[in-house]
């Protein structure tokens, strides 16, 4: 494992899962699966002394270092405790770590691969949070990879496991499989046609959580929704994956497709107008908040998927979603920026890239 993560370099790239490729990627942003695991011979985090946390971090690191798997030896291992706030924030924006672990105290770490396809958090709510992310709706490959990492770690780490209750977790809502599968969906057409309520209602009684993000009042509507399994005990991993990946997500995708078709048929001009205005604002604004940016980028993403904008690649939009966030902007600028400076910097950054002058870089 490498221990010399270059954060300036990291900020310039986008993880593989943001390429906007894979099945259903016009609607599905990403598939993420995480497994919660704990070491058998330590208390859960809440009852850990500082020494316990340090011992866990050292044990896990040493055991990971002993693994000879080729993919694994190329991983980055980052000790989060001595990291600056902005670098931790950068990892949060890249979804490699959670905000909770970024803001926590004491020994904690993350291991991830160069493509940012997987990350393993050490000393989050559980001792280990193993997650794999892929572009588009790709449950099968995502599961295969996370399961393989779990198998590999299990060879060198003794997990807390109960024959009846399964993998033991700090919170009883994760016990059993310790598995959470989340599919991030872009549903602007369902939002525009005011059908999200109906979708939510139809999701009731099937053990899934749908979480949406929207902006202040009617000014900004965000269009991103995350679907994940709510329960972890009493079902096999395959059942939980099928519930989200085969039952729920495809149904919502179909609703969104129908809504997009009907918009194209009945409101093409209105839609084109809205997409063009979003483009106009991002191309001309002199300062802009990240909420407003997200709102307009969402409309542009819809415009690209529906063939209303043809000079832009969805990859560029995904890159802008990531790099227009605060820590990335500051990292790319090479210094800490105040709020007003960030808004101004964000506006010029967006214009530069939308004009095709930015370099889209992938690792």
């Amino acid at each position: 494992m490498k221990r010399d993560a270059d954060f300036d370099k990291l900020a310039r790239y986008t993880g593989q899962w943001m390429r906007g490729e894979g099945p259903e990627s016009d609607i599905v942003i990403s598939t993420r699966i995480r497994l919660a695991r704990n070491l058998a011979d330590f208390p859960f985090i809440r009852r850990c002394s500082d020494e316990d946390r340090l011992s866990i971090e050292r044990t896990v690191r040493a055991r990971m270092e002993s693994l000879t798997d080729n993919n694994w030896s190329a991983a980055q291992y980052v000790d989060l405790e001595p990291l600056s706030e902005i670098d931790r924030q950068l990892l949060v924006e890249r979804q490699l770590i959670s905000r909770e672990i970024a803001e926590a105290d004491g020994s904690r770490a993350v291991a991830f691969d160069a493509a940012e396809g997987y990350s393993v958090m050490v000393n989050e709510e559980d001792h280990l949070r193993i997650q794999v992310m892929k572009s588009g709706l790709d449950i099968k490959n995502t599961w295969e990879q996370v399961n393989r990492i779990d198998d590999m770690l299990e060879e060198v780490i003794l997990y807390a496991f109960h024959p009846r209750y399964g993998y033991l977790t700090a919170c009883p809502t994760n016990v059993g499989t310790g598995l959470r599968v989340s599919v991030m969906l872009h549903l602007p057409a369902l939002v525009i046609t005011e059908q999200m309520d109906r979708v939510f209602r139809s999701m009731q009684r099937i053990n899934v959580t749908v979480r949406g993000l929207y902006g202040e009042g009617s000014q900004y509507t965000g269009d991103f929704y995350q679907v994940s399994n709510q329960i972890t005990l009493g079902h096999t991993e395959a059942d939980l994956l099928a519930l989200v990946g085969e039952e729920v997500a495809p149904r919502i995708i179909e609703y969104e497709r129908k809504a997009r078709e009907s918009l194209l048929k009945n409101n093409r001009d209105d839609l084109h107008d809205e997409v063009s205005r979003a483009m106009g604002i991002l191309n001309t604004a002199r300062k802009i908040s990240s909420e407003e940016t997200m709102h307009h980028l969402s409309k542009i993403r819809l415009g690209i998927s529906m063939g209303l904008i043809d000079q832009l690649d969805v990859k560029v939009i995904n890159q802008l979603f990531l790099q227009s966030q605060s820590a990335h902007l500051q990292k790319l600028q090479g210094r800490i920026l105040g709020r007003a400076e960030r808004h101004a910097r964000r506006a010029s950054f967006l214009q530069h890239h939308l004009a095709g002058k930015g370099d889209t870089t992938w690792n």
Binding site: R32, N38, A40, D41, F42, F44, R46, R47, S49, S55, R58, T59, A62, R63, S66, V92, S98, R99, E100, N147, E154, E155, L158, Y159, A160, F161, H162, Y165, Y167, L168, C171, P172, T173, V175, G176, T177, R180, M203, Q204, R205, I206, N207, V208, T209, R211, G212, L213, Y214, G215, F224, S228, Q230, I231, L233, T236, E237, S289, S290, E291, Q325
Partner: protein, 175 residues
């Protein structure tokens, strides 16, 4: 409106839909909204709280007694668990078993894991608990500079643990 987690104005509003609680709207500043979204959607604390409330309604007068019940391994009380929603150690699933089962039924509608199992077994819940106890004892021994005792315990832990674990970690785990 202020963010639920800090003093900044709430500019993001997140609707969480969980069955059977119905939609729940939360208000965050930009930073906390992102943190919240990136955190995978686990059932919110309210799910545990409401499941516990339902269960404790049936407990009645015994609640005070239950609250004082403590895990002999990590020392967490049921009261502390009830307030934080987080358990203290793996042995809690054994020690508080009869108290947790109704909660598991409320949350998961099940009390039986039927998924993946580790290929190597960690033994019984008792042996897991013993390992945590030994680890505490070892730390105490190191604290009072009784390195002989600490190394005895370390050997004992090694013997209980998996034989596959790399030998090179020995010095790392206790230094």
């Amino acid at each position: 409106m202020k963010c639920q987690f800090c003093e900044k104005p709430a500019t993001f509003h997140i609707t969480e839909l969980t069955d059977p609680g119905g939609p729940q709207v939360m208000h965050f500043c930009e930073e906390h909204a992102k943190g919240f979204l990136h955190k995978e959607a686990s059932p919110p604390m309210t799910a545990i709280a409401s499941a516990l409330a339902k269960q404790l309604g049936q407990v009645g007068d015994d609640l005070e007694e239950l609250d004082q019940k403590e895990c002999p391994v990590c020392g967490i009380s049921f009261f502390e668990f009830r307030n934080s929603g987080r358990l203290g150690c793996p042995y809690d699933y054994t020690h508080f078993e009869s108290d947790l089962r109704p909660l598991l039924i409320n949350v998961h509608d099940s009390t039986e894991h039927i998924g993946k199992r580790p290929t190597r077994s960690a033994g019984t819940a008792d042996s897991l608990a013993k390992m945590i106890g030994l680890r505490r004892e070892m730390e105490e021994a190191i604290e009072r500079e009784d390195y002989e005792r600490a190394s005895e315990i370390r050997d004992e832990l090694k013997a209980m643990e998996d034989p596959i674990a790399p030998k090179s970690t020995e010095s790392d785990t206790t230094s």
